[in-house]
Amino acid sequence: MIAQLPPRQDVLARRDAIVAGLRRLLAPDAVIAEPDLLKPYETDGMSCHRQVPLAVVLPATTAEVAAVMAFLHREGVCVVARGAGTSLSGGALPMQDAVVIGVMRMNRILEIDYADRLAVVQAGVTNLGITQAMEGRGFFYAPDPSSQLACMIGGNVAMNSGGAHCLRYGVTTNNLLGLKLVTVEGEVVDIGGGHLDAAGYDWLGLLTGSEGQLAIVTEVTVRILRAAEGARAMLAAFRANDVAGDCVAAIIASGIIPVALEFMDRPAIHACEAFAHAGYPLDAEAMLIIEVEGSAAEQDDLLGRIGEICRRHDPISLRISASAAESAAIWKGRKGAFGAVGRISPDYLCMDGVIPTSRLAEVLRRIGAMSAEYGLQVANIFHAGDGNLHPLIMFDANEPDSFDRAERFGADILRLCVEMGGCLTGEHGVGVEKRDLMVVQFTAAELDQQRRVKSAFDPGWLLNPSKVFPLQVPPA
């Protein structure tokens, strides 16, 4: 278990009184304190870390969140906000002396305005739920993390979630208009709204991706977009990673911005093909899935231009989809990548670093060398347009020190990303996973600057403790 601040003994000693106080504020079934009922909340998508919280509350309204926050602030109790609990960095990992505020009961869509192209939703609405609510109208909410069926918009805001299509449509922060927040003191504050670009400091931008360190989000106003007429994919297989990397650079340099540009290395191709039988070329070292949007003629045009560029890079095979069904088949293997790796390895760690796209081949060579050194297999999936690298490190938790080696391997990959001019995390967040690596990317002065901003919102450091910032006594 990762190091945490020592639990506050005074809080643990007052547990019963704190729970009783919460029960006075909320409906009886909205306060969970029984050990067996707390169990499901002990972890999130990073299930190697587990910690049962002091209690869980499931408020139904912003007013209830505000009442809970005011009470916990008076009592000096820490708070961990939770959406669907899909975080891959331990962002929603509970603490022993903290109350988890789950927003899953706040799951109503409050407004959809097609003329002004926005939707107002509560924090517990799922990412995909927003798009589904507009079914038949041709509109969608753009960020599409792979957990979009389950993950909630409140969590997306907290982690600034991305997805496979952010090269064209941006990540969460680029698709928001407003937030309703509850401060650590229990005050309700509206930021932004239906309009663009509030004057004054960009609170919306600062809150997005702040991993529950600054405030609790209860409502979100998102931009909605009209979908393109259609989309189609192609698959290109290459003899070497650097050739595929050069091909990506050539596509971007040609003035085409595909909506998705996904790279898989040889181990990833093999794992996905064995799992999904998508017809991936097993003799390739590297493979690209490239998706474009537009009318049928526009898709033909773009795929034709991209195909030309691919042909200049000595491809092993090129497969341009002729239909939506064929596009789905091309995507099938990629979308099943995590399951595919789970099938060939008892356990795996999904990493999330970012590198300058031009360094891909070099980074993969170094990862290959580390793989041999650590004696662990790795498959690499890469959002090639934006440099977001997802190495899947395979290990067997039943083997002594296997998990420990996998973690050290992962940390070395993230250090490599920073060394190459990239960063520790592109979309999964810091959470507990990368907390102690923050010193690799930031100087002490830079971390202290961020800590002082945190302190401006949360002077007592009650919000999502032991995450994001390397452990230390908060600065005065």
Binding site: D116, L196, D202, G209, R226, I257, S358
Partner: protein, 401 residues
Amino acid sequence: MSAAPVDAPGDEAGVAAAVRAAWAAGEPLLVQGNGSKGAMLRPVQAARTLSAGALTGITLYSPQELVLSARAGTTVADLTAAVAAKGQQITAEIPDFSALFGSTTAPTLGGAVAANLSGPRRVAWGAMRDHVLGLRAVNGTGEVIRSGGRVLKNVTGLDLCKLLSGSHGTLAVLTEITLKVLPVPERRAALVVRGLDPVRGVAALSAALGSPYGVSAAAYLPAALADRVPGLAGASALVRLEDFSSFVAYRSERLRADLAAFGPVEVLDEATTLAVWAAVRDALPLVGETGAIWRVSVRPSAGPVVAATLEQAFGARWFLDWGGGLVWIAGPATAAAHDAVCAAAHAAGGTWMLLRAPEVLRAAVAVIPPEPAPLAAIARRVKAAFDPKGILNPGRLRAGA
């Protein structure tokens, strides 16, 4: 604005030294680039001016990665030329307010980011701040801090790039900025529907922006202002397409059909298209107005309501960008007119900025909306977190802050 002595260090270390000296002395600094937007917002009382104008030059440009880094004092014109040479553009379509402010100095990248200035493409491709991948800055104690980086995706730590973008030099002095850039489209075309009233005009813009054709800008000019733009005549609802030539041709025809209910659609040639959108971007139809200029941002459907209210209140001259949501307003530089603008923006649930006015008015009124008490308290603490002695552009955004 200020005749204070100007310190313009040639490197970041020089900026840090200048801020450390001011911090030690507790002396306020007027922070600026080349000062082209010095007449914006509230006047700053400072003994010295610290300019980033001498921090110039592109430090990294990787067209195939869509990434550009430049020192903060690099002029927007130089950057635009450098990326154009590689067939790319600065996505935010940075407005140039030189004509509006009557300034003769060249706007800088740092100034555009510090003011979060976004042009017509805002409505489709995001604001200036959305394209800031990373930055370097000197905080109010003279420490160099970095946030973000040179990659397109990054959620490592708090996003200080967003906080510093639009903070008008009140939290830190920007020294270097990394942007995401995009290809210049092969062809641009503006489509115009003439003679619509403002409500119908914005409805036409909404229909276009809600179409699958990737409209990249949408504005409405009433007849009086449209007549000031060469190439336009009469009330004009304008939308823009930017893409490969064959796509623009196809999409123009589809939009013509989709907008037929609003009236006949005219497609402007590329040269006229570029000139018309530059005029909208730089608010050129308001340049001849002598009074105050406001920018109000509301839901697009509320734009015509705000405009009508202010036309009635003080005979406002106005036009709409960002699909109707950005209301450009000219009117008398009086507290009464200012109050009317604030009230109309507030009633529409929006935000406002007094962009241009004589110094006496800018010093006397709030130039941006007040924040609710809990947020105002957080804002004071955030300011102190960067600038504990309050020496960076004191009072530029708000009196006493």
